[in-house]
Each structure stands twice: as structure tokens, then as C-alpha cells.
Symmetry: C2
Subunit: 461 residues, 2 copies
């Protein structure tokens, strides 16, 4: 690209920045200028990217119950203490403690052919074990249920339904394909299988296995469950076509340990006019153990803290109380989210709104609103203030796992929404690393979130 | 991120896919279904990503006049010939032939300190040479013009104004900072300087120097001009603060050679009803030489060809003639764009529309329309058809460099617009490589472009 296009586009953009008629009151003009201040501060002096560099690089993966999760708690507390907030504190919460262990090994042995090794990873919560059995491939839970018992008994069930690439919103494909990972092992065990292999929930074609939480059922044998990469799943499927009776060996040393004491980290700016009305903005501090947990959900944590910093640095003291919360244990239990709501209820706190960032730190698109239709319409009136920044898509949607338990206590739950195309390529894998995060995309998200918090704190609901 | 959010979002998305009232006629329904077909084909069986893999990996950087540019011409022709189009042909065009050569070396020598090496690259079109001189740093052309002559004479002028990070649309920042690269050397030479160094046009902080075209002026001495990386520029600026009289040595072996014969590559599907009305969709086949030219503009080329393939594969034969054009020499001369318009005019061709993709292959956002206000409004009526795909931002904008010369011959020029945040990080550098392109983002763009071409070919203007 040369200059002509860019230069002309610049002029048109300037023209486009003029506020639409609906927003031309002097209040709207003040809001527009204040939001511009938040963006300028985020883009010129943002600290979230360097915070994320530390969290991902110096602490790294931080599964609930791990020493790294504990380090992350202390780090989050220190970062917010240095910001000079009105209050920074921890909320104690007991969390599950599952460990992957050192051994994850898988190999297919076709009749006469050479053994073929596979990259695998245990699904979160799986029991360990050592298996050797034939494999039966299915595309879905209903297909498994329809199979004659003798075709499943004593075997490993291989769930190989891909995420649907034709959905534009990748989260929809993730949600639909997820039953295999979530319930596959239990459903397989009910039919006498001794283990489960699951195609990774990814739209990329690569060699990274994706972990993620799975559930056993009471009264059903707990059998080991592992993910294959998408390439690995394709390869195993091809081997099975050529040799349906091949044997598959799986060995994993993962295990569940007793619950561990951990914490949510909370930082707060007291509201200048209505201190008892609370706006919570959060992400989750825990991550899976395979990588640095950069997009899931380091970005949500540094963004939430940055919202407070932006409000302070721009002098836009909120009229209502604003809290950044780094929730513990979203990935495998949501104990932090449940505890936060429980304590808020016990203290009789009034939550105006809760916002979560847990879809990655990509270019912002808007917000998903989980609340009454009238509230959605009220928030949509602010669209013109967000459109010049490309984040004006305000529509009914879902808040987030951590803030979900606040549903009956908050007037509205809000999910920060950013570009979803790359997220599931790296989600829950060794590839979810700091270098995948673009500084500007992250910073634009920070400012979008801060702008909505600013408006909520000024106008209420 | 766990499942709850994704699953709920999926349901809401489904609801959101219902067409708005304005688009509920049966024609609109047909259009909606046909556009869905284009997306499905793009996402399920797209070929653009593999085409790009070949162009970037097997051919690589392809500056006008280079053997690789010639290979790219033959490759483009073969790809389109295999698609079974109605017509594939080359348009001969003479292009500049500038070569970087083997040597690019730069070193600062502070008084007593150790020499400091810098990554540099010649700006496209620069003369070579070997310089050793003091450096004078300026932030702008006006600042240079205001300096006393003796402060510039015999020195190297160092233009160090960064791109403005507070602009949301990165192209605007690129356009504004670009005068240094474009005109810096000539302006410096007018004041007696012997060379120019320019801060790279990038919003990233890294060690990649960014090349790009620059212009000399008739009657003004042609002095060598090189780019420093953004980190390098910061480092040189700091060195100059500590030691304003340091000497800088620059040696470059670049040179201009005689013009070379090259080609635009054109593929065509004849319109079923109005074959004489033409819709052109294109990107530029040439790239800078430092890397693979993946986002600039390999993506635009494979997208343009894919538009034709999508129309064929879905059976949506266009009523008007649709052409994919791989333009030669956008980067340093635009000779291909000029030749295409010249030949179209000479043949009396009627251009309904010309569309260009030259802003990278990132997630689509919409289209910039360069044409009469009534045409903008007409195209905006189609927004509801694009909104479910996230590419409904249809607004006044700029078409593109290659299609610019068609301005007076086409009813409208259209720039395909995608997320702009990452583009200038890699633009014109060694980092513009295939791995930076996300398959889905590219494919979503292909379908967006094909959808607009489909509508234009059906309804005209």
C-alpha cells in the first residue's frame, strides 16, 4: 500500500468523527471528549502490555492450586497497590488442585506397520492411567449412544467432530463441538469404554493439543481422557480407516489433589457520589498449565486493572464505585466467581453492572449485554460514542463465566467482545503466548472498556 | 473461556441472523442465501490460503523488474487458467527496475565511544553511495526548512517523527508521517545535506527497518536515503543527545536499472446479461524485496482470484463481466494501474466498478466507497446483508492505488477494508511473511468481496 489511499482515508475519517445528530448535546460532547482522553491515555501511556509481559513471561501458566497461581495473586495485588487505589484486598477461596504430572504419551500400533506417536494432553480433571486398546471413532455423543455395546466395551472412544468453520462467530462453533470434551469420557464409560480421545477444539490445522475442563458423573467409572491435535485427529482417523483394529496406547500421570486455599484479587476506586453502587470489571487470573495464558485470560486481567488506571490518570473520577477483580479458578470450577457473588450478597452490596473480558485481547468490536431489553436499548444509545473507535457493536449477548453468579444481584452483565477469529487457534494450548498479543489491539480494548465503565459510572442504569 | 458464554452467544447469534425488516423481500432473501453460499464455499473449500502459501513461499519477494516478479506473473496466469475462466490474458507494461544490491551498512561513531551498528534498508528508488557525516535530527519537513543552512550543509538529515499512535485508523497515521519518507531526501538535498535517514513508518517498537518508495526532484542532487527501525531511530536519537557531533557512516549499493517489460495478469468471467459492463477486482502482484509480500499484497492477489472461483463454484454466474486483475508495480510507479486504465479507455470498455484489496488480509470490516453520494447510499442499502458477517461498515472512503487511474472511467471505486491494527507493524519489512496471515480472516475477506461483486453484478449501479 502506498500513500494516496491512506491520506485520503485520513481526511474522510476526520470528517466521520463529527458526532451524529443524536449525540450533539453538550453532555454528549463532554462524554465524547472524555472518551477521547481515555483512548489517548491508553494508546500513549498504556501499562497493560508491560503488565502482561510480566505475568506471562515471569510467572507463566497458572492453573488453580499451582505455585504460579499463588505468585499471580501476589503480583496482581502489588500492581494494584502501586496504582494508589482506594482499596486493594484479597478474597479467600478454596480451589481444586489438579496436576498434569510429567507423563503424557500416546502411540498407535497398526498391525504390521511402525508405531505412530501422537502429541496428546490430558483434559483438565482427567484421571491418569495406562491404557492399551482398540479405538472406535465417532462424530458425536448420539452416534456413540447408537452403537451396539460390543463395539464400545473395552475400547477407547475417539470423538472426532470438528468445530464448524462456517460459523462467523467462532465461539458458536466452540460451544457446539464442546460436548465431546465436556462429557465424552463419562458417556464413553457408561458404555464400557476404558478411555476417551477428543479432537482438539480448534479451527486451525496444526499439531497443538488443546486442553480444557471435562466432567465425570457420579456412579460412572472415571476413565482417562486426552485431546489430540487437529492434525493428530486427522492422522488417527486415516490410520483407523486403513487398519480399524489398530491398538492405541495412552499413558498419563495427571491426578486430582486436595483443594487449596487461593484468592480473588480486588482493587477499588470509591465512587464520588454513589459509593454504594458498584461496577465490577474483571478477567480470570488462573489459566491452563500448557502455556502462558496470554489471551486466556492474562489480557482480561491486565485490561481490568488498566480500566482503573485510565480513570485515575485522566482524572475522570467515577461517581459510582469501580472495582477491578482478578478472579481465581474460572477454568476448572469457577470457585472465584461463585465466592465473589456470595460475599457481595452477604455484604448487601448493590451491583449496578459487572463486565468481563474473557475472549482474548484482540481488536475490540463491542459489548454483549445480558440484561433486560430496556437496559440493552439504554446502552445502545451510547453506540455513537463507540463507533469512531470501531467498537460500537452493542447487542444482546453473554457476560462471562466469572461474573455469571452475579446474575441476580447485578442490573446488567456485560461481555467485552473483540475479534474472535484467532482466539480458538491458540486457546488452552502451548501456543497461547505473549507474542500472540498485539499491543495496540489490547490497548484499544482497554479504552473501550474504560469508556463504558465511565458512562455507567456517570449515568447509572 | 469456558462453554457457557460461547453456547449462549451462539443462540443469540442465530437469533441475530434473522434479516432486518428492510431486507425481508424475497429478492433480499435470495441474496442473503446466495451470500451465505459464498461464505460457506470460502470457509469450507477456500483455495486462497494455499495459493498464498505458494506465492510467498515458492516465489517470495517480487519487486517490479525482478525475476521473482516475472515468476509471479506466470504463476498468476497458470492459477487462473486452471480455474476454467472465460478468458485469461496478460497486459504488457514497462516497469522501473530498482535493485537493492548486496550492501546495506550503517554505523554511528560517537567521539570516544565504541561504534554502534544499525539495521538499515535503502528506501525504494534511492541512489547508492558511501557517506560519512554528522547527523542533524528533525521531526518534520517544516522544522528542516526552518534550520539555518550551515546546520544542514554537508550533513545527514535524520527525520524522526513517529506515526501518531492515537489515531484509531492506522492508515491515517501512516499517511501523515509519510512525507518524511517520500520527500525527505529531496528536501534535505535542497539544503545541502548529503543523505537522509528516516524513522520507519511503523507503530511497533522493533528492529525491522521498513522500506517504501521515495521521490527525487528534477534539478536537485540525488542523495542516498535509508530507513532505520523504530528501535534504531530511538537509539540514534539518544546517542545524538549524548554526543551531537557523532559521525554516521552509511554505505548502500542500491541502483536504478533500465525499465523492464512486465505484465498485469487478467482473468475474466463474461457477464451473462450485460457482458459489456465490467466489474474489476484486484490487488498488486509486485511487492517490496525484503520479505514475502504476504499482506502487501499477496493477500489482495489471492483474494481477487478467489472471488472468481467462489462465483464459479457456487454457480452464481454474474450478469455483468467480472475481472480479477493482478496489477504490476503498485509499489514504485503504479505503471500497471495506469496501463490497465489506458487500455480500458482505448478499448471503449465500460467500467461499472473497480474494487481493490491492498490493506492486508485481516478480519474484514467493510468497504470504503469512492464515488457520488448517491452511489454510497445505494451501496449502504446492502449493509444488512453484510452485518451478520461483521463486514457491514460501508462508508465514503478510498478505492486503491492500482484502480485509482480508473476514477473517471468507473462509476465507483471501492476499497476492501479490514482490521488495520497490525498492518503497519509488518508492512514493507522482512516480517511481512505468510505466517502472519490467518486463514479464516483471509477467507472471510474473500467472501465479503465476492458478496459485493455478486450484488453489483446483479443490480448494477
Amino acid at each position: 500500500m502506498q500513500f494516496l489511499r491512506a491520506t485520503l482515508a485520513a481526511g474522510l475519517l476526520l470528517a466521520g468523527l463529527a458526532l451524529p445528530a443524536a449525540a450533539q448535546s453538550s453532555t454528549a460532547k463532554t462524554d465524547s471528549l472524555n472518551i477521547r482522553k481515555l483512548y489517548d491515555e491508553a494508546l500513549l501511556r498504556g501499562q497493560s502490555y508491560e503488565n502482561l509481559r510480566y505475568l506471562t513471561g515471569q510467572i507463566g501458566g497458572r492453573l488453580s492450586g499451582s505455585p504460579q497461581a499463588e505468585q499471580a495473586v501476589q503480583w496482581g495485588k502489588q500492581v494494584m497497590e502501586k496504582m494508589g487505589l482506594d482499596r486493594v484486598y484479597l478474597q479467600e477461596v478454596m480451589v481444586p488442585h489438579w496436576e498434569r504430572g510429567a507423563k503424557e504419551k500416546a502411540e498407535a500400533k497398526p498391525g504390521k506397520g511402525k508405531p505412530v506417536s501422537f502429541n496428546v494432553c490430558a483434559l483438565g480433571g482427567s484421571v491418569g492411567g495406562k491404557l492399551k486398546a482398540q479405538v472406535v471413532e465417532v462424530q458425536s455423543l448420539p452416534e456413540l449412544r447408537a452403537l451396539p455395546a460390543e463395539q464400545v466395551k473395552g475400547k477407547i472412544v475417539f470423538f472426532n467432530r470438528p468445530m464448524n468453520p462456517t460459523y462467523i462467530e467462532t465461539g458458536r462453533a466452540y460451544g457446539e463441538a464442546g460436548d465431546q470434551r465436556r462429557s465424552g469420557a463419562a458417556e464413553a464409560a457408561k458404555r464400557g469404554a476404558i478411555g476417551a480421545l477428543v479432537r482438539s477444539l480448534s479451527l486451525a490445522h496444526d499439531d497443538f493439543p488443546h486442553t480444557g475442563t471435562m466432567r465425570y458423573e457420579d456412579g460412572v467409572t472415571r476413565v482417562p481422557a486426552a485431546a489430540l491435535s487437529t492434525n493428530g485427529a486427522d492422522q488417527l482417523s486415516a490410520l483407523l480407516k486403513a487398519n480399524p483394529t489398530l491398538t492405541f496406547e495412552l499413558e498419563m500421570s495427571c491426578r486430582e489433589l486436595p483443594d487449596v486455599k487461593s484468592y480473588n484479587v480486588v482493587g477499588e476506586i470509591k465512587g464520588s457520589k454513589y459509593p454504594n453502587e458498584i461496577i465490577t470489571v474483571g478477567g480470570h487470573l488462573d489459566s491452563w498449565d500448557l502455556a502462558q495464558g496470554a489471551h486466556d485470560d492474562g489480557t482480561g486481567c491486565v485490561q481490568s486493572m488498566e480500566v482503573l488506571r485510565l480513570l485515575k490518570a485522566t482524572g475522570l473520577r467515577p461517581e459510582r464505585t469501580v472495582r477491578a477483580v482478578l478472579f481465581m479458578n474460572e477454568e476448572n470450577g469457577n470457585r472465584g466467581g461463585l465466592k465473589y457473588a456470595e460475599l457481595a450478597k452477604a455484604a448487601g452490596e448493590q451491583h449496578l453492572a459487572a463486565m468481563e473480558s474473557d475472549g482474548g485481547g484482540f481488536t475490540p468490536r463491542g459489548f454483549g449485554i445480558e440484561g433486560p431489553a430496556a437496559t440493552v436499548r439504554q446502552l445502545q444509545q451510547w453506540q455513537p460514542l463507540f463507533q469512531p473507535y470501531g467498537s460500537g457493536e452493542i447487542a444482546p449477548g453473554h457476560g462471562g463465566t466469572d461474573i455469571g453468579p452475579l446474575k441476580d444481584q447485578a442490573k446488567v452483565l456485560i461481555g467485552y467482545e473483540c475479534d474472535s477469529q484467532r482466539y480458538f487457534d491458540i486457546h488452552h494450548t502451548a501456543a497461547d503466548t505473549f507474542d500472540k498479543v498485539n499491543r495496540r489491539e489490547l490497548e484499544l480494548g482497554n479504552a473501550s472498556m474504560a469508556a463504558l465503565v465511565y458512562l455507567l459510572s456517570k449515568y447509572g442504569l
